[in-house]
């Protein structure tokens, strides 16, 4: 499976076939704003159904703060996806990071900052390991990261001795989930910062343009003189680092780490990435779209929970969003 999208090359002149006339312009803007508008409507619907609770600061804090692990992991998943690859090991890298923080801090008395640095470093190494095997050995990323993900998952079980480790120093929770800015857990702003950095690099630097070319059409990029291998390797490595940050947020949120702690966020993260590709910059995997998608999913989940929805209703929402995201993304690629 590849996330590579088709690309259309044009002259520097305005594209003749697309975006002509005010109707097309309106359509393009409508398309860009589709998900944010859907999010807004969803917000209004839930606010109307449960005005006292849904519009409360507590709920806003829940929407923005409780899904930060998903948010960070989605940003990790965005990078290889944008460069035309897929990394199924990110959940396991996050889990490995979480368990390293917990084991170092709880079992070996290592301070939280050092434990987090080690974990993030290991995340980067895992990402580089993926990049090495996928790029240098020219293997299929789906299969290779499926394998490395299982390998990293095995390491997690080994290090954790198959148990949940609790009692991580409370200072980590203070720096992630418990400390709030404007009523919102500070970890949400970490995610926002990472998202904005990715957005800036992707949209306003030569590196971002090269990354886009590699993701859209690797062969064209190579023929244009772009070192596609380096771009892809970098994307895998950085994704490992950001996935490790998701693991750190997990430990901060729960004060613990278990063998399958972050893995379960992988599919929702990809749901957000694919859903995000339908908005802001439709047809491109983009950081702002991913952020909007995460918030869309978080709003839907929180609203359903406030209305007393059973677990299956939330799964219906999540699953439906994922199906739509993949279908729409596929449709965009074909067109």
């Amino acid at each position: 499976m590849s996330a590579t999208e088709t690309v259309e090359t044009t002259d520097p002149q305005p594209a003749p076939s697309v975006a002509q006339g005010s109707g097309s312009v309106r359509g393009r803007w409508g398309e860009k704003a589709a998900l944010p508008v859907a999010w807004l409507v969803l917000f209004i619907v839930f606010a109307a159904l449960a005005p006292e609770t849904f519009l409360s600061m507590g709920n806003l804090s829940n929407i923005l703060g409780s899904q930060s692990i998903l948010f960070m992991l989605a940003l990790a998943a965005l990078l290889p996806t944008r460069s035309g690859d897929l990394d199924l090991s990110l959940g396991s890298i996050g889990g490995l990071s979480a368990i390293i923080v917990a084991v170092l801090n709880v079992n070996h008395g290592v301070s939280v900052p050092v434990a987090c640095l080690v974990a993030v470093g290991v995340g980067g190494l895992c990402g580089a390991f993926n990049g090495l095997f996928v790029v240098k050995f020219k293997t299929e990323p789906f299969i290779m990261t499926l394998g490395t993900g299982t390998l990293f998952g095995g390491l997690v079980f080994w290090i954790a001795n198959s148990t949940t480790i609790v009692g991580v120093d409370r200072s980590l929770s203070m720096w992630t989930y418990l400390r709030q800015i404007g009523g919102v857990p500070v970890q949400f702003f970490y995610c926002l910062l990472v998202m904005l950095v990715i957005w800036y690099v992707m949209n306003h630097t030569p590196l971002g343009v090269r990354n886009l070319f590699v993701g859209q059409s690797r062969e064209v990029a190579v023929l244009s003189g772009i070192n596609a291998d380096r771009i892809r390797f970098g994307a895998f490595t950085l994704a490992g680092v950001i996935a490790a940050l998701a693991g750190v947020l997990y430990v901060g949120t729960t004060g613990s780490a278990g063998p399958t702690s972050v893995e379960t966020f992988l599919l929702p993260a990809y749901a957000a990435v694919f859903l995000g590709a339908t908005t802001i910059q439709p047809g491109r995997f983009n950081a702002l779209g991913t952020g909007v998608a995460v918030l869309f999913l978080a709003t839907g989940t929180a609203g359903l929970q406030l209305l007393g929805a059973q677990d299956y209703a939330q799964q219906l929402f999540y699953g439906g969003a994922l199906v739509l995201a993949v279908a729409i993304s596929r449709y965009l690629r074909r067109n």
């Binding site: 690309v7 398309e31 829940n62 148990t163 702690s261 989940t301 007393g308 677990d311 439906g320 739509l324």
Partner: protein
């Protein structure tokens, strides 16, 4: 040369409509909140539990917090005939530290009475793994199988039948609540006081509120059979003590979804009802996901859990963690109780009736959490000598 991405056609413009349709479907799936009618709690509310009843509850809670005493479950019997036999011990999942340790302890105990070829079957949980374990026991000529931590025999009915035909005695350990009927698929079982744990949690919560009405949230995982009865036990106890004044709400979160859903679900519940003062967890593995939700909400609620996993009892020692009680077993004691039941059926003795075959639990609270110390972790060791005394003619160690 510039690169231009393909423009989407009209269909993607329907994306928001489709997304909203999904949301609509999901909203349609919203059942009315699982609440009993009741009025919100408040610090100013008058007590609904009388002082006499509160005194009784206090006595019960204090008794449950004390070190449990061992009582002989039945008559002594000879285990001489067990020498040369072998059992296979299989936990519900090797990832559950307590269950894993219990399964290994059962093997050690079996070896100590002469069943030297007994083995432990490591597995990652789930019917597929359990079927493998049962097939191994049947094919390798084991005499007995210990299913540890409540592997549902109904999920392995063909294997249970095959084991019976092969002459293998299967004992399921810590299977169901003591009030539940015994399974007829297995030779014998040991049970747990799941529902009693929840009742004592309710009692402790009402003592904490000094008898004033409180609202409660129960987090269930209904794929785990005792969970359903435990939720009902909470509802029944509140109704008995509090009438309609206490509101009980429940959320069902599958075990596999704890990481992704539990924290936000509890946060939402606390936003929806800030009068919640007690969060009941039917499985204390939920604790790491519930505590941050309570702490960040600013709601003055506490957890009342089942499980008594040592790692979570340790958390009670930190006053920053809003934890009320956590009741559960000692896995080593349960290993002896299960081994005793298994030895009885392998020795052609009458098994202990399922309603009497259980290891006592201990109620943990911040007040007694310091007593969680090795080697017996707050349960004493009288049960070891007690059970050993029942197993007569055992080979010398």
């Amino acid at each position: 040369m510039s690169h231009r991405l393909p423009r989407a056609g009209r269909a993607p413009r329907f994306a928001p409509l489709a997304a909203l349709a999904v949301a609509g479907l999901a909203i349609a799936g919203c059942a009315p909140s699982e609440t009993d009618t009741g009025s919100p709690a408040g610090a100013e509310a008058e007590a609904v539990v009388s002082e006499d009843v509160l005194a009784d509850l206090e006595t019960e809670v204090q008794e449950a917090m004390a070190v449990p005493e061992w009582e002989s479950p039945g008559p002594a019997f000879s285990v001489a005939g067990l020498a040369g036999k072998k059992i296979l011990s299989m936990p519900v999942s090797s990832q559950l530290e307590g269950c894993d340790r219990m399964a290994r302890t059962v093997v050690d105990i079996a070896k100590s009475v002469g069943m030297t070829d007994s083995t432990y079957f490591q597995n990652d949980g789930g019917p597929q793994a359990w079927v493998q374990g049962m097939n191994l026991a049947i094919n390798q000529g084991y005499d007995g199988v210990a299913l540890v931590c409540g592997i549902d025999p109904a999920a392995l009915a063909p294997q249970m039948e095959a084991a019976r035909e092969a002459g293998i005695e299967v004992v399921d350990m810590h299977l169901a609540d003591v009030e539940d009927p015994a399974s007829d698929l297995i030779a014998a079982q040991t049970n747990g006081q799941f529902n009693r744990s929840m009742e004592l949690g309710v009692d402790a919560a009402l003592l904490e509120s000094e008898g004033r009405p409180i609202d409660a949230l129960v987090i269930t995982s209904n794929e785990n059979p005792p969970s359903i009865g435990m939720e009902q036990a909470v509802r029944d106890e509140f109704e008995e003590l509090c009438g309609d004044e206490c509101e009980v709400q429940a959320i069902n979160i599958p075990i596999t979804d704890y990481a992704t859903e539990l924290t936000s679900a509890v946060s939402s519940a606390l936003v929806a009802n800030p009068d919640i003062r007690a969060v009941f967890t039917v499985f204390d593995a939920q604790t790491p996901f519930v505590l941050p939700a309570i702490q960040s909400s600013g709601v003055d609620a506490k957890t009342y859990a089942f499980g008594a996993d040592r790692t979570f009892i340790e958390l009670m020692k930190d006053p920053a963690n809003p934890m009320g009680t956590d009741m559960g077993p000692n896995f080593d004691w349960m290993a002896y109780t299960g081994a005793d039941q298994l030895f009885r059926v392998l020795s052609d003795q009458e098994p202990i009736p399922s309603e009497e075959a259980f290891s006592p639990y201990r109620l943990w609270a911040p007040e007694n959490a310091e007593e969680l110390q090795p080697p017996d972790y707050g349960f004493g060791d009288a049960y070891v000598e007690g059970y050993r005394g029942l197993w007569q003619d055992a080979p010398a160690a």
